[in-house]
């Protein structure tokens, strides 16, 4: 049963990935004319890039052949040549992955821990001042544009208090005599981006945790537990929270879109040299091959994240059947 369910989900994801590839392919060709006309108009495109694009798209061949050529190149990891960087897209993208993983990873851990805690307290103290404050916090952080929050934090912590640098990953031109001083410099650059992204995510996690916990509290087995004479503290810890944690797994996957959106903005504001910043650079340089490559990578990772969440969920919650 379980195997069937997993297989079905994997197949579904593969189909979606295929659609994404098709979508991605046509998206960048909906401009009138061929891909070349789009690239020729870009003053940054070098002769080499134009030649490579011709080759990559198999121009001159019928459209379905062009699509298969694109597909074939894709499977070999060939995403074309970036206009700005004059290097293969795959290389450029690869070099920017690590900073994003570190930044987003830290922000995720921080916001999940704080968000869940806040959600539990909120549900536990429902209707009190603490709950109202937590709810307002969640609603306000939802309404604040991420990049603007970043600007405010820069104005306060970097310009006003001079506690953290405004941008970059390491202080430029500085020589480090030991690893520790380098890590310290790195961490001080990392602090504000992680804080900004976390603030945006905490509210989302807190709100969901609160609502699922409140849903769980009305289940019959909670009444049963109460009837058995367990005290409230025990019931919340042993019965309610474990059950409320389940939907959080799905939320982490659903939140991928939100996280990616936030990352693009945060990295842009703080010049954090990750994928989000790269996307911003690609957008403003109208570097279409690079943009296409990043978009493909992002969408495929979102689909995979959803798949992993679905499978994990099915193993944790025995009620999920095929």
């Amino acid at each position: 049963m379980k195997k069937q369910y997993v297989l079905k989900k994997v197949l579904q994801s593969l189909v979606t990935i295929f659609f994404v590839i098709v979508f991605n392919y046509f998206l960048f060709r909906i401009m009138p004319g061929n891909p070349l006309s789009m690239i020729m108009r870009n003053p940054r495109a070098s002769a080499e890039a134009i030649e490579r694009t011709k080759e990559l798209f198999g121009l001159g061949q019928p459209w379905y052949m062009q699509f298969f050529i694109y597909l074939g190149n894709l499977f070999e990891g060939d995403l074309g040549l970036s206009f700005i960087h004059k290097r293969p897209v795959i290389e450029v993208v690869w070099s920017r992955i690590m900073p994003t993983i570190i930044m987003v990873g830290l922000a995720q851990i921080l916001s999940i821990v704080v968000g869940i805690l806040m959600g539990v307290i909120s549900a536990w103290k429902r209707g009190t001042k603490v709950d109202v404050i937590a709810l307002s916090f969640s609603l306000i952080t939802y309404s604040v544009p991420t990049f603007w929050l970043g600007i405010i934090l820069i104005a306060i912590f970097s310009i006003g208090l001079r506690l953290f640098p405004t941008s970059g990953m390491l202080t430029p031109g500085r020589t480090f005599y030991n690893t520790l001083s380098m890590i310290r410099d790195y961490a001080s650059h990392l602090f504000l981006p992680v804080l900004t992204l976390s603030l945006v995510l905490i509210g989302e996690y807190a709100l969901t945790m609160r609502n699922t916990l409140l849903d769980v509290l009305t289940e019959d087995y909670m009444t049963t537990a109460k009837a058995k004479g367990f005290d409230d503290n025990y019931i919340i810890k042993k019965h309610a929270i474990p059950n409320a944690m389940l939907p959080m797994i799905t939320l982490i996957a659903i939140n991928m879109g939100l996280i990616i959106g936030g990352t693009i903005q945060v990295e842009t504001i703080f010049s954090w040299p990750g994928l989000g910043r790269l996307m911003y650079e690609a957008l403003n340089g109208r570097d279409y091959p690079l943009l296409q490559g990043i978009f493909l990578l992002i969408t495929i990772s979102v689909i995979l994240a959803n798949l992993i969440a679905d499978i994990t969920y099915s193993y944790l919650d025995p009620r999920v059947k095929s």
Binding site: F19, F28, P145, W148, I159, G261, Y280, L283, V302
Partner: protein, 292 residues
Amino acid sequence: MSTIKKEMRKRKIDSFIKSYKTNKMGLIGGAILAFFIITSIFGPLIFPFNPMEFGQASNVLQPPSASHILGTDDLGRDVFRNLLAGGRVSLMVGILATIISMLLGTTIGLMSGFLGKKTDMILMRITDFFLVLPWLPLVLVLAAILGTSIWNIILVIGLTSWAGTARVVRSQTLSLKERPFIERVRAIGADDKTIIIRHILPNVFPLVFANTILVSAVAILSETTLSFLGLGDTTRASWGMMLHYAFQSGAASSGAYWYFLPPGICVVLVVLSFTFLGYAFDEILNPKLRRR
């Protein structure tokens, strides 16, 4: 319309107004939104603003004063006037994009739920596809390809935000379709079109309404983010464009708070007011969905 129906509708509206009046969140949201709608309609008439008209070099990035109550920007333009004009653009984008999204989402949801079978399968696959695609990158890529006029931005936001509405409408349609009153209407001889428009749509509408208001919040945030990231319409002075110029000119590092704070605060307030209204209407109109 028969008198009974008229009476029923009137009663419904009366009870809606009654519950709205006691809903704190809804009242606050409504008041904030009304304030911004009024200022965006009349503000630019009283204090006109031309984004292409730059001030003198001596008048650049001036802090608030009697002649410029919110100071001037890096091109010597009056921030307060820009703010009023910006509200008009941002609200317009939000409302028009929402209308596109609502029409698409409702139509697809109704068709999917009512027609079922293959139509349902295909439409729901497309919906899932749009739900799974990460929203901001999609919007950014579409805007970059289509070009950055305000109409393209509205179109892009509308075309990418309907999936949630379609889902909600579909599930509601599915449950309505099985209700006895639909069967009764069908027995009298009503065709599909009549059933959908006269009987299903009015019952789905409250749900769409609450959902739509939440979409408006997303649409306004999208326009702000798009403009900020350099994909905005440079000929329109939206709040997002203000923030874009503020950041580009280094307003944060030069301490020009009067330049980068007001547009951001306005965006937050408007988005918050839509969110409040959305939650309030959801509570009033869909008591079954109410989370305690």
